[in-house]
């Protein structure tokens, strides 16, 4: 107790006392990031770090919706220029001059020739003398070349090799190089990426690919200084986990100064950051929400960000309530404690949260979760009228609204097609409903009746769920990943939904790898899957049903193996068009075809619920970008005061326990003394 009393007024504060009141954002991470190298990193939990450090050419506007691309280090959003009669597309990209990298030892020449003793004694790369230099077009070119690096695994290499002129040959050339040591990519020419001047470069694509600009907003296209790569390739660095994959080097608002993925990751303000101004316009309602108060002010506002590793949800949630994390998601276990939903369906925080000043933000994610029918399956797949009606019947029987209510606490909206809300091509209201499943009644969609589903089933040749020719009950198979005993309720729910139309459902559970293997081999009938958009373009959803993307046939992303010549032809026209009325018409037709064929039960677009404390400002959910920390502001003094108020140590129970033990010891001591005084021991 005396020791704990030395911690000051607050005993349960997990952070050092010196940090109290500081401009420090406290957050957490559950899983160790696998890659922080921008050419390899592709997951959201890694983007939380990489997107604060690395600066791609473009970014998404923080406030405007639908999502809008704006320049970050580029002078403007590059425009495609078609050459050779449309055979090639050229993007000429100009970056802003005067941008400096964060301080880094790689920029100091002497640090490129370190002895093994110096490397051995290093606790952090930042213990060495630090330098910087200006960002140039060569750094972007270097990074694009790294997509084909023989020792790196860029998830988008395959995609980019299909578009960037010469990338495939460049990759073959690099494979001929000696397998170890630093590979100086500057010595190898990539035909499709040319330097124009120090601040300008040109990328040539084999064909038109309008979605290319979205990739320019991802860390795959962030600049990388060759000096940093060379620095980390020195002998002995990897043994100390000093690699570019763990120590990012960028020009962004923050730099990673502490990297302990087992416990703590710390981002600190990059002293060389050029400064960027907070946006001065947003969407309707942003001004009222106070999101434009800092318009024109220089970012970032927060000095330091501390991410603590929190593997379990219970301590994480309690620390948020104690004020030790500034923002939080909401797990299913905490939903009732945190959120109340009105009869109208509006969500708000509970009085308990409100009393603490905690606020709720919600946003529909650019994600779709669906139930897919394997198009190659003899029973549920194919374009025959029989199988289509069977799929329609199942689509009606599965009550997605009920599923969202029971299993997601209402956090989601039923999907009517592959495209998520907020993406061009998505339609609201009557025009947006799936007529196979819903009727438009009194200004809202109403799911068709079970009777309608049964009728479709009978027309499909399965009256009362039995095969009309054999009389045998129709048994369908759902493949899914089993995550634990908690899944039982969901599986029972699925069975009940199928039973509504007298269909029997067998659920085949397996682990993630086996599940993926089954899909790859086309050895499934019905399965659950989802897709999280890479960029806000309908192409990134509609390609999930594009024939040449078939998983079983081409190892692509069309997991249902759906095949429709008409859909594919429309997709090829649509993907190259800018957002326009013509494009909308094509999308409408494609969605109509997909709804008619029903290769998926259009499941759910999840809604993200996040909580933040009253001392956090400028927080607006953005499901496309993760470089949001630079926009956030916080009131450290207010946080410190509230933490003190919420976490006053309660000592009396401890004193009570000690007193109880002392009192309980008295009879024992008396008994002991009595025994000791006895002349002989009783038998």
């Amino acid at each position: 107790m005396i020791f704990l009393a030395g911690c000051g007024e607050v005993w349960n504060d997990p952070y050092p006392g010196a940090e109290r009141g500081g401009s420090i954002l406290y957050s957490s991470f559950a899983d160790r990031p696998k890659h922080l190298d921008p050419v390899q990193s592709y997951t959201e939990d890694e983007a939380v770090f990489t997107q604060q450090v690395y600066e791609p050419l473009l970014q998404y506007h923080y406030l405007k919706r639908p999502y809008e691309l704006i320049p970050l280090t580029a002078v403007e959003v590059p425009k495609a220029r078609s050459i050779d009669g449309g055979k090639f597309t050229v993007y000429e990209i100009r970056i802003r001059p005067g941008i400096k990298y964060q301080p880094h030892p790689g920029f100091v020449a002497e640090n490129q020739k370190l002895t093994s003793k110096i490397v051995g004694d290093l606790k952090s790369p930042y213990d060495l003398p630090l330098g910087t230099r200006e960002l140039t077009a060569d750094d972007y070119i270097y990074q694009i070349k790294r997509l084909a690096h023989p020792r790196l695994h860029s998830p988008i290499y395959g995609l980019m090799a299909a578009y960037i002129v010469g990338l495939e040959d460049f990759s073959k050339e690099l494979k001929q190089q000696k397998p170890d040591g630093w590979l100086d990519l500057r010595r190898h020419r990539l035909k499709g990426v040319e330097r124009v001047d120090a601040y300008t470069f040109r990328v040539t694509l084999k064909a038109s690919y309008p979605q290319f600009v979205y990739w320019l907003a991802m860390p795959f296209f962030a600049p990388l200084p060759w000096e940093a790569e060379k620095f980390f390739e020195q002998p002995g660095m990897a043994e100390k986990n000093f690699t570019l994959d763990w120590w990012p080097v960028g020009s962004g608002p923050y730099m990673l100064t502490e990297n302990n993925p087992n416990a703590r990751m710390v981002l600190e303000k990059n002293p060389n950051f050029r400064g960027e101004t907070y946006p001065s316009e947003g969407e309707a309602g942003d001004a009222e929400a106070g999101l434009l108060q800092d318009a024109g002010k220089t970012m970032p506002f927060v000095e330091k960000v501390v991410f603590s590793r929190e593997k379990e949800s219970i301590p994480y949630w309690n620390k948020f309530l104690q004020g030790y994390y500034d923002t939080s998601g909401i797990g299913s276990d905490q939903f009732d404690q945190a959120v109340r939903v009105s009869i109208e369906g509006d969500a708000d925080v509970t009085p308990e949260m409100e009393a603490k000043g905690i606020r709720l933000s919600t946003s529909v994610e650019t994600t779709v979760g669906y139930l897919a029918f394997n198009w190659d399956d003899a029973v549920v797949g194919g374009s025959s009228e029989k199988s289509r009606k069977l799929r329609h019947a199942v689509s009606i029987a599965l009550d997605i609204e009920e599923q969202i209510s029971i299993f997601a606490n209402g956090r989601g909206i039923p999907a009517n097609g592959p495209i998520a809300p907020g993406i061009f091509g998505f339609r609201e209201g009557k025009a947006g409903i799936n007529p196979v499943v819903y009727d438009w009644v009194d200004g809202k969609p109403v799911r068709k009746s079970v009777e309608a589903a049964k009728k479709l089933l009978a027309e499909a040749g399965y009256p009362n769920g039995r095969d009309a020719t054999t009389g045998q009950p129709l048994v369908l198979y759902l493949d899914t990943v089993a995550r634990g005993p908690g899944d039982k309720a969901a599986f029972d729910w699925y069975r009940r939904q199928f039973e509504k139309v007298n269909l029997q459902l067998e659920i085949r559970t397996t682990d993630w790898n086996r599940f993926q293997e089954k899909i790859r081999k086309g050895a499934t009938q019905i399965f659950r899957l989802g897709w999280n958009a890479d960029y806000p373009d309908p192409e990134n959803f509609l390609f999930l049903l594009y024939g040449p993307q078939s998983r079983a046939r081409h190892q692509g992303e069309n997991a249902a193996n759906y095949a429709s010549k008409e859909y594919d032809a429309l997709f090829e026209q649509m993907k190259n068009l800018p957002n326009s009325a013509q494009r909308q018409r094509l999308i409408d037709r494609m969605v109509e075809i997909a709804r008619r064929d029903a290769p998926w039960v259009w499941g759910i677009h999840p809604k993200k619920y996040s909580l933040r404390h009253s001392w956090i400002g400028n927080d607006k959910p953005n499901t496309m970008a993760r470089n949001n920390i630079k926009y956030l502001k916080l009131d450290g003094e207010k946080r410190a005061a509230l933490r003190r108020e919420w976490n006053r140590p309660v000592i009396w129970p401890l004193i009570g326990i000690l007193l109880f033990l002392a009192i309980a010891a008295v009879p024992a001591v008396l008994s002991y003394r009595r025994r000791e005084r006895m002349a002989a021991r009783p038998t």
Binding site: L4, C7, V10, W11, N12, D13, P14, R32, K34, H35, Y42, T43, R151, H153, P155, I156, Y157, G158, L159, A238, E239, K240, N241, T243, D245, N260, N262, A263, S308, R309, E310, K311, E312, I314, P315, Y316, N318, K319, L321, Q322, D511, W512, N513, Q516, E517, D534, Q555, E557, N647, R648, P649, V650, I651, L654, A668, S671, Y672, R675, E676, R681
Partner: protein
Amino acid sequence: MLAYIIRRILYAIPILIGVNLITFGLFFVVNTPDDMARMQLGAKRVTPEAIAKWKEERGYDKPLLLNSKKNGLEKITETIFYEKSVRLFAFDFGAAEDKRDIAHEIRTRMGPSLALAIPALLVGLAVNISFALLMAFFRATYLDLWGVVLCVAMMSVSTLFYIIGGQYVASKLWHLVPISGYEGGLDAARFVILPVAIGVLGGIGAGGRWYRTLFLEEMGKDYVRTARAKGLAESVVLFRHVLKNAMIPILTGVVVVIPLLFMGSLLTESFFGIPGLGSYTIDAIQAQDFAVVRSMVFIGSVLYILGLLLTDLSYTLVDPRVRLE
């Protein structure tokens, strides 16, 4: 004694090969190298070429146990098992699948594991022995009876309950200690005090009962009766004679676990956010990181064998009648 130690070390080699073989077999029964590659490369945009490249880089493109395409000894040496296992015997653990150096990870994570495990062991031992001696002293009384009932009750409660309950009461309700987290140096005390207390509390049931049984067995022996007949105080009988003679079974239980303290606690470290080796092992299992799993199983086996050897050696220290030949 030296010959005995050398003999035991030599015995350890086939045991370690066997453990390696079993770990290898179990791991690759449920995971293929393709599965491992997919787990590491993520779920999106993974091409067969990327998987082949990942396997080739890490040597997972070879046959598991027997390379039929090779001749002679290479049939054995050009396999995943040989390449991944042999270096372990030189304590060369290599890199994890995410390319982080395993030896470096073990060195940095050992400290937090020990910071939690050593106090938990020592305090737990002291508390359990004291509690057991108390019950033994008051044997056949209500205190003994209710002590045993309490022990059985405490044994029946899951460790998870102690952890969640402890966090709820000590940190959430009373605000006495951080609910989770870890800092190095002296600051570590603030973070390990609760998990140590919970570890001790959770161990009282089993430990108290076990030691009570040992003490009661000793107390029924002739030398204890002789000591009492001489008129020695009960405390002297208990602490100077009974405790000393009960040391052999106590040592068996304690010395064997001392080396294993390095391995950390899987559950406690996860819940309290302590970046130790237990947490490392759990992460590796979840990430299907074979390089880490085999390294941790290997170290665990070596430490267990070491623990058993130390136990045997410690017998000679506490019991002069024992001779190792």
